[in-house]
Subunit: 349 residues, 2 copies
Amino acid sequence: MDLSERKLKILQAIISDYVRTAEPVGSRTLSKHPELGFSPATIRNEMADLEEMGYLTHPHTSAGRVPSDKAYRLYVNALMEKKELSKEEKIVIAERLRGTTNEFEKTIEHAASILSEITNLTSFALTPKKTEDVLKYINLLPVDEDTVVLMIVSESGKVSNKAIQMNVPYTEENLQLLSKTMTYNYKGKTISQALTNNIIANFETDIVAMSGLAEDVMPNFMRTLEDMLNVNLYMEGLTNIFDIPEYSDLEKARNFIQMLSQKEELTRKLIERDDGIIVTIGEENTDDIMQDCSLITASYHVDGRLVGKIGVIGPTRMKYGEVTSIIEFLTDNLNNTFKLESGGNEDDD
Amino acid sequence: MDLSERKLKILQAIISDYVRTAEPVGSRTLSKHPELGFSPATIRNEMADLEEMGYLTHPHTSAGRVPSDKAYRLYVNALMEKKELSKEEKIVIAERLRGTTNEFEKTIEHAASILSEITNLTSFALTPKKTEDVLKYINLLPVDEDTVVLMIVSESGKVSNKAIQMNVPYTEENLQLLSKTMTYNYKGKTISQALTNNIIANFETDIVAMSGLAEDVMPNFMRTLEDMLNVNLYMEGLTNIFDIPEYSDLEKARNFIQMLSQKEELTRKLIERDDGIIVTIGEENTDDIMQDCSLITASYHVDGRLVGKIGVIGPTRMKYGEVTSIIEFLTDNLNNTFKLESGGNEDDD
DNA sequence: GTTAGCACTCATCTTGCCGGAGTGCTAATC
DNA sequence: GATTAGCACTCCGGCAAGATGAGTGCTAAC
């Protein structure tokens, strides 16, 4: 059941009108489109067909047509033209992104805020999950009698640490030995590899004198590794939702904001999305609560290895072409930023 | 112009009714109050007086009376009874607070979430500003040829660090020397003292060999100290606002949420509030945007020295007595938690 | 000083009406 | 056979009129 050229044109016109105005589109309005030289009646017939095929719906008998999720899907897959950003726009975005401090987290946060400003949608950005980050250096430092600081440095320049309360007395020598052993065992391993490889077992047999020390240190080491995997979620333009007619209903606005307030859950959902630019439209979202939203996410890369996410969430009625172009440009930009300038010059915390 | 006993009683009844129902209170309703054995007409006269004195307002002629901010202020200062929490409530709260992991930040976050749940308002919590935190130990650690990790440990157990890209080559010996000098100079100083006391000047004259090193390190040291002063703002129950009749207007809800989205600004405002339980009602807030909100904040202490904030924000029509009692109990609880268990057992980040 | 009574005000809810936008169907037209 | 004009029909949204009811202010009586 292929769509005729004409049906496609009509569908496209309906989508573009509806996206612009948020009003159901009628046959008369459409017949005035320059590319559509047909009378309203003809268009009505075509629209009736399109409705039967599931591409359009009808809020009520005497209203115009509204695109269905299926129509948006078709649009995104086939009809949509990616809007190439103008030179000026590109410059503005690039400038604003570069204008930030060169702190990693701040740059990400800023990218989200730019995105929400340009698209007038709610945007978010997720810092990379450091599963693939490689351990470089582990050290244990004496602070006072019963406190030792564990420090872990990774290739990406991230430094993590934890103050450990020691239950057994330690000597500086033992501490150094343990540091070296740990570095020897874990250096070059990714965090996720390290997490599945607890070397405490070896200690217990190998070096009896250190087993007590290791028992104090290793659980903390593991927990710190886990902490290193934590990602930050930045969100911007939450109140943009109030400008969107679809959410002029208080109950809907509430649900939307409530959904976005559940940061842990949201983070989980965003992380598990595939890489690249992914568009999910309305019902395609597995989540009940997101059934009338569309979500566009993209991944950016740090050092070509760590993967973060950035994207927008908004009503199914959104400018898919424009938004994807912007996100694409933005992630390209981030990829470059984090390729060239990356190194140890980033911040912990 | 003192208020008669009777006027006070009437005012109190109006406030308690209005807080409960969110509806303007009429004379007939009031005359049915058990403590108010007067006819509606008498009460009307008194209400007219109270209105003249600025304690009541009138949405329109044929509506009941609504308390003004001035009335709430009087209520909070003199009329309100602090509601002593019941044993069960106390136990529930204490249990839930204790049930969290013993990570500092998580506990604070959890406290905010408990607070918003119990009060049905929007709550927030601010981690302590560490201005008064005392430096304990500073170390510089070689990582690779041009990377050094700066580590700062404070009395409160906070460990901060920063990977530094070195522009000049270093020797391990120099590094140690600099570490020691810095520790010697800064140990026992508070962060705010340290920030106003850049010792780089001394280096340039004293130890020429190290001046290059210090020039690389010191700016990073200062920046890290500044970072250590950053506080985290947790917010919970943002969508509770939608349950409050005052905010059933979309525009108002939007403004409220927009205000709370500006985290930096909000943080600043909260920090600069006085310690102890502070209630600001409606117009008392210096901020335009908060003129129809009331804000209740309290401070909690860590180690008796560092001060954090916790509180709620909601409509001026709120249960001041109940809320302040809850906040008081919660901060007492936090104070105890952070007095006994504090030490080095907290997390960075 | 207190209260009953009464006229008056004003918001809100209900109802009915009308206009406009848009549809579906049929018959005429190209 | 595809296209179009015409027309009856549907439904939403806005508006006005009227009814309702809560509450007030004032006056006069208790």
